[in-house]
Symmetry: C2
């Protein structure tokens, strides 16, 4: 299992709607997340920054992320949520959410 921490900006004017949507994420989006080996996935908010934590239990992260990205329902979800987000300037090529460094862990 591999842990991930990620950040992305949240446009302040869209915060309320983003939170409303994420209180009731579409079943098809959740099903794809599970099928693609993401577990224990949480998103937290600090001001205009979203922080995601999840655990990846598969053995081909790139392929699983590509499968999520190719999913039609997920694409519709992203079309709704994406404009509410603002990727951080540090993101790497190909990143939307920016993966950040884990500096500590204990089970």
């Amino acid at each position: 299992m591999q842990r991930f921490g990620q950040v992305i900006g949240l446009r302040p004017e869209d915060a309320a709607e983003y939170i409303r949507l994420h209180a009731d994420v579409w079943p098809g989006v959740l099903a794809k997340i599970e099928a693609c080996n993401m577990r224990n996935y949480s998103i937290f908010r600090y001001k205009d920054l979203l922080f995601a934590y999840f655990e990846y239990i598969g053995d081909d992260y790139e392929a699983d992320m590509a499968e999520i990205a190719a999913d039609e329902t997920t694409q519709e979800w992203w079309a709704l949520c994406g404009p509410m987000q603002q990727p951080v300037p540090e993101r790497a090529d190909g990143e939307w959410w920016h993966t950040i460094e884990e500096v500590f862990h204990v089970d």
Copy 2:
């Protein structure tokens, strides 16, 4: 089980030393964390911001946190790490790390 997300600032000039210390946290500090019902505890870094994620499995969070705070080894650890941190202005009375809002979760 209750999930927590927390943030605190990291003084840029202390970042390297903070990371070095957290690669090898004292066993007594880790033992107290476990004894006080914190599990799956990770700290991530994004620029000058630290983000913590952990799961609390006890039934009296305030009491467990007070027990950690009363632990002599933990106090020595905090004396070392505390000055490297910069609490965020949004913290509530009694907070060091500031607990933030969970906007999404799926198992």
